[in-house]
Symmetry: C2
Subunit: 358 residues, 2 copies
């Protein structure tokens, strides 16, 4: 229902209605002008041709340095979502199952289903601080399990996985011979240090997907990357060759400029969103919602006992506020997701409407 809400919000806006859009992880902050200028310079320099399906060498090299891997372990993708689809396309095609802790980002499940793969959902609960139970995970793995998807920090809870749990999951995956796909798109801008799957990746068995969207307010630019072993990177590249071909080179140049500005930009994003998380937490607590404190941008995933969040979301949209129902993230009907991706004043208005609506 996540995408339906978005298309409906866009439609209402196109009809002239004012919608405060807190339904997507699309930061309201503009892309930095230096990044726009880098793209423009590249376009003017004629970087508007077909190019390598691996991505540009200079960008791969720079990313490799950041992650302490080799350039051959990096492939550029049109968004981290494409990285996830492409990874699952190669690994899940024709069946098998994938284990996904919930609440989860909707796309994992939709992608798996589009590929004819089965999803096995591992429920976590607000009441248990969203912890993955290791014994349950181990029991869920069977001979057809090809992959575990981690989203760390998590969308929609903005929770960071504690190091002990992550250690445990990797230990089980290694022992059982299951690949971990770790979606760390919120990792760089988490409010506290988040452990990456690459820290365990001696054998390059596991796969990292991430992107520029969240860290650099570049959602609409569609650029991300995968880090994996060389053979897997080569296979993703072959898939790129028959699908998207390449990310526009001028967009890759923009991403390169973004990386040069990373410290400055990510600090700004973190500060801004930590402030917004505080505002939201205060209002939501006052209105009687239960939730875990966000440890990363951009979401809060409040719960109200007895809430029908699909009805709630549609009613709220008519009142000019778009959020996402909990059912879009698994079996979480009493929850809904607020993206704190609007200016603070709008967030305050929206939070008041949310408080009134319940």
């Amino acid at each position: 229902m996540l995408y339906e809400i978005n298309e409906k919000a866009l439609k209402l806006e196109s009809e002239g209605k004012k919608i405060i859009r807190l339904n997507l992880g699309d930061p309201d902050l503009a892309t930095a002008p230096e990044i726009v200028e880098a793209a423009y310079s590249a376009m003017k320099a004629g970087k508007t041709k077909y190019s390598s399906s691996y991505g540009e060498n200079n960008l791969r090299q720079k990313l490799a340095e950041r992650h302490s891997v080799k350039a051959e372990n990096v492939v550029i993708t049109p968004g981290s979502k494409w990285g996830i689809f492409a990874t699952m396309f190669l690994m899940m095609k024709g069946g098998g199952n994938v284990i996904i802790p919930t609440p989860y980002w909707t796309a994992y499940d939709l992608i798996a289903k589009s590929l004819g793969a089965q999803t096995k959902l591992l429920r976590t609960e607000l009441e248990n601080d969203w912890k993955v139970d290791l014994a349950t995970l181990e029991n869920m793995i069977d001979k057809d399990t090809r992959m575990i998807i981690l989203n760390n920090p998590n969308n929609p809870t903005s929770k960071i996985m504690d190091a002990k749990t992550l250690d445990g999951i990797v230990e089980i995956a290694n022992r059982k011979g299951v690949t971990i796909l770790s979606d760390e798109v919120y990792g760089t801008i988490a409010f506290t240090k988040t452990k990456s799957i690459l820290e365990y990746n001696g054998g390059h068995k596991h796969i990292l997907t991430t992107g520029f969207s969240k860290t650099f307010s570049m959602t609409g630019w569609r650029i991300g990357y995968i880090i994996a072993n060389k053979m897997f990177v080569d296979n993703i590249t072959k898939l790129n060759q028959i699908t998207i071909n390449n990310v526009p080179v001028f967009i890759q140049e923009a991403a390169l400029r973004a990386l040069e500005m990373q410290k400055q930009l990510s600090t700004k994003i973190k500060e801004e969103y930590e402030e917004r998380a505080k505002i939201a937490s205060k209002t939501l607590a006052k209105a009687g919602f239960k939730f875990s404190k966000p440890e990363a941008p951009f979401y809060v995933f409040p719960k109200l006992d007895g809430l029908d969040s699909e009805k709630f979301t549609l009613d709220l949209l008519d009142k000019g506020v778009a959020v996402a129902p909990g059912t879009a993230f698994g079996d979480y009907r009493e929850h809904f997701r607020i993206s704190l991706t609007a200016p603070s004043e709008e967030i305050k208005v929206a939070l008041d409407k949310i408080s009134e609506a319940v």
Copy 2:
């Protein structure tokens, strides 16, 4: 082998070697500055956010007018290649077969195989003016045939399908209940009028894929579109939502500007490439090659009896000229494909090297 040659050519260039690249359909003409400026303006105006997986309404509307369909029949894709992959993903997933006349664009076959579908190749020959034999086509269709792919004008032959043959193919497809995917990416810039599949599409059963790459020298921008019935467009959009999400809005704005300049730009491309085709035809005929006269940009597909085109292509690459071996387009070992996508002077140098090499 098409993509391997390209990656090798890129590598040689990155090592400082001068390569005349006639291996890809990537026009050497630069994207018009007005198109670059349109993208830049859109970026500066903040059109750098997530947007609809259908594509922007204004662009869909404009394309609908051009093709005499409704906006609901148009979905924007990151390149026409994505349009083809997405169409085949929805139609061929899990099996069935697709009939493809050869010589064909490599990607069709690779995409089908990546989806676990079977390809049935319908051979056409230079000696028979590349005509599809209708009786052979009809006999190839069986209960598992889901699709026929037409590429009109054709890559690699630059041949336009005569109206009578196209009429016959559509009649057979309609009678047998098989969908035609018509890739018309070279259609707008053909040297003579080319009949579109949409002219037969009363019931919107058949599917058109095309893009901005060739008509507007925008290969590296990655933007194309599909025209189909509303239900199919909705399903492609759902696939976009879990893969590429959307084509960057600033790229869609650039495409909109391109459409406004279509007459001027496509006339220029046609004239330039018709001139190049003449130059190439003259030299190739003199050197003893057989080929059909190009009726559209960008290719010539010459034949030399007894030629091993894979060996020939690799040898030629070492001499600084990249072309594509005939085997990349089906069982055409004695052919190779020249893309006339370099300035005329370079093409002349390359043609001389090609003539010497045989």
